[in-house]
């Protein structure tokens, strides 16, 4: 950490905005700030402290705000105070700012409602800025608060290391400056986490993986076996199914056999019907033909008719009263003379008696009847002939039909012969047995499927358990690794701690001696500086005796300063040395020596001096190294200080 500039706003006696630049040149690294007592030198130191580390390290917050600033606001109005510090660290520029806002009270005091605001910004080379998220932490890595007093201190109080009871301070100093405390904290933290890991490890059961792996193996073997069984059962079932199909096909054929049988029966029935019909037709033919004898002598009939006609015409028929003639007269109700007759008249009754008296089988009538009858024979014969013809035709038809039916029946019978019906029951039995087998296989397969499903589920579950165990195992692995790492880390720190601390002690011891020799004027008087194992800082005189009790205040200061600067040198981290009233108790020689060698012993030096402190040789010694110089002007009237550049 190398300071660049500081800006104070309303900080204590620094009313309004006051700023100064720190010298940071390699050659000119000294900033001298002059001020009489009360001008604000100590306030400036406090400002730096407050800015970097906050109010924990300052007495009263309320007193930090410029009274002048307070006086210039009304009651209930706010007043802001801030300190902004810019510094370089490891080549980077940082700006830290701490500000505080307060409300003026009636009693002219200020009450701040909020804590101070602390910000840290990292400035990039290109002008971009980046807010630091953990400013306090960052400051602690750069210049930890617990060692600030070795870099920002009051010159008149730096003799504590040389005091008789100083060992605690010395140890403390070394402890903190060299982050031994941090190292020890690190060791403690690592131990703590290692203990936690150990405890956690105990909780996680071991050997799970092996058990699960065994279970999985068993389950997989079982699964394979079941799957094989399933395969076999399926094949068997398929074979049965095929056999059943064959039988069903055969039975199906049987069905068509039944159909054939039915057809056959139908044909037979049909045939029977036809035959019956044939019988009837034949019977009819018989009836017709046995009665149609008259038709074979048509000539005789014709001749007879002719004869009768001739006889009648020629009057060959005896002259009896013609019955027909009389009948006609009666019907026409006409007398023979042509006169109309009434039913009750004499002539009518006479005619009637004539009819009654005439015998029925008179020849005349016989001839007439016979003729009439014989005349019908031709027609009758024709009719019979037609009738007979038709029946004969029908007979032929029927005979053909019957023939066809018989042929068909033969064909059907032939086909029926090919598939004997009596095998059906045998096949049926076989089919039933096969069905029973099918059912068995179906059941077996069902059980197997269930078993396989269960096993698969179990394997999934085992998989999950395995993952968990692996996770646990991994957790275990991780924990073990963590434990080892943490423990080894802690052990490493522990192991080296003592040695490390010794080394530092010795280094500091050596360096302190070297610096003290330079700063002190009593060269030769002091033989050695020792920081023993108990961390007590000792000067050994030429006589080999502890000379500390004999040291003057100034000498003690020098010793402390040597120790501090020795630490700063060995620390090998850039840090400024800010000393308030550095030369208060020093003698002229000491002052001269200090001013001569001190600039080379640090990276940056800021001296807050009174006028008396810095003059003549001291001033002359510092002159080549002074980069910036300021004066703190305190106005008694206004009670505030202004920083003025010299």
């Amino acid at each position: 950490m190398i300071f660049e500039r500081i800006a104070l706003v309303n900080f204590r006696q620094y009313f309004d905005r006051q700023r100064l630049e720190f010298a940071k040149d390699r050659q000119r690294k000294v900033t001298v700030i002059h001020g009489v007592n009360g001008a604000g030198k100590t306030s400036l130191l406090r400002a730096i402290n407050w800015c970097l580390y906050g109010s924990e390290y300052i007495d009263k917050v309320g007193e930090l705000i410029s009274k002048e600033a307070i006086s210039r606001v009304e009651v209930s109005e706010s007043v802001t105070m801030s300190v902004e510090l810019s510094f370089l660290h490891d080549g980077d520029r940082y700006i830290v700012k701490r500000s505080l806002r307060g409300i003026k009270m009636i009693d002219a005091n200020v009450q701040s409602d909020l804590p101070d605001e602390f910000t840290m910004v990292h400035m990039h080379e290109d002008g971009q800025s980046e807010q630091i998220k953990n400013p306090i932490g960052t400051i602690n890595t750069i210049l930890p608060s617990n060692i600030r007093s070795y870099f920002l201190f009051d010159g008149e109080q730096i003799d504590e290391f040389a005091k008789p009871e100083s060992s605690k301070q010395v140890k403390h100093a070394i402890y903190h400056v060299f982050r031994l405390e941090t190292l020890d904290n690190a060791r403690k933290s690592l131990e703590a986490v290692a203990t936690d890991y150990r405890r956690e490890l105990k909780d996680i059961s071991s050997g799970e993986l092996g058990r699960i792996a065994d279970e999985e193996q068993k389950a997989r073997t079982e699964l394979e076996r079941s799957e094989n069984e399933q395969q076999e059962a399926q094949e068997e079932k398929e074979s049965v199914r095929r056999k059943m199909k064959d039988i069903e096909e055969q039975l199906g054929k049987m069905k068509s056999t039944n159909e054939l049988q039915d057809r056959h029966d139908r044909i037979i029935k049909d045939t029977k019907q036809r035959r019956k019909e044939l019988e009837d037709v034949t019977s009819l033919i018989r009836d017709i033909s046995t009665c149609t004898y008259f038709s074979i002598i048509p000539d005789t009939v014709k001749n007879a008719l002719l004869f009768l006609e001739t006889k009648r015409e020629k009057g060959g028929i005896p002259a009896n009263i013609k019955q027909q003639f009389v009948r006609d007269l009666i019907n026409q109700k006409q007398c023979i003379c042509g006169r109309p007759l009434t039913e009750n008249c004499t002539e009518y009754i006479q005619l009637l008696s004539l009819i009654n008296a005439t015998p029925l089988d008179s020849l005349e009538d016989d001839v007439l009847t016979l003729s009439a009858t014989l005349r019908m024979f031709e027609e009758r014969a024709n009719n019979q002939s037609t009738h007979l013809g038709r029946q004969m035709k029908r007979r032929i038809e029927l005979l053909n039909l019957i023939l066809d039916l018989d042929t068909e029946a033969d064909d059907v019978r032939y086909r029926l012969k090919a598939s004997p019906l009596e095998e059906v029951s045998g096949l049926e039995k076989q089919r039933q047995l096969l069905q029973a087998d099918m059912d068995n296989y179906t059941m077996t397969l069902g059980a197997l499927n269930e078993r396989i499903e269960k096993l698969n589920k179990y394997l999934v579950q085992l998989g999950k358990e395995l993952l968990q165990a692996q996770k646990n195992d991994r957790k275990q692995k991780l924990l073990t690794t963590k434990l080892n790492l943490a423990q080894q880390g802690a052990d490493a720190i522990k192991g080296d701690y003592q040695g490390h601390s010794n080394i530092i002690r010795q280094e500091v011891e050596t360096k302190t001696k070297e610096i003290f020799r330079r700063l002190s004027w009593k060269d030769g008087y002091f033989q050695s500086i020792k920081i023993d194992k108990d961390f007590s800082l000792e000067i050994i005189d030429q006589y080999g005796k502890q000379a500390r009790p004999d040291l003057s205040t100034g000498e003690r200061q020098i010793l402390s300063l040597s120790f501090i600067t020795a630490m700063a040198c060995i620390r090998e981290e850039e840090a400024p040395l800010i000393i308030d009233t550095p030369f208060g108790y020093l003698s002229t020689e000491h002052r001269s020596n200090v001013t001569k060698y001190l600039p080379d012993l640090c990276d940056q030096l800021v001296l807050l001096v009174t006028d008396e402190e810095l003059h003549s040789q001291a001033r002359a010694n510092l002159e080549p190294h002074i980069g910036n110089e300021y004066r703190l002007e305190f106005d008694k009237k206004t009670n505030y200080t202004t920083i003025i550049e010299c």
């Binding site: 932490g137 060299f178 690592l190 991780l478 963590k482 790492l485 981290e573």
Partner: protein, 69 residues
């Protein structure tokens, strides 16, 4: 530099231990004002991270060795 000093101090240690110590020390330094519990949590984070990395490296080496074989 403090880091350099640390490295020097723990030069004998394995790199992973070195890395761990460096990180934890830096953490402790930064959290000098933080509570012990908070710091412990963060230390656990660091240890966990480094341990996982170690395991992964081990696995990788094992696989590579297997491949070589």
């Amino acid at each position: 530099m403090f880091q350099e000093r640390l490295n020097k101090l723990f030069a004998k240690c394995k790199p992973n231990i070195q890395a761990l110590i460096t990180e934890v020390v830096m953490l402790e330094q930064a959290n000098i004002s933080m509570s012990k519990t908070q710091t412990k949590e963060k230390v656990d984070e660091i240890v966990s991270r480094l341990a996982s990395k170690e395991i992964d490296n081990r696995e990788k080496n094992r696989v590579e060795t297997r491949t070589l074989l």
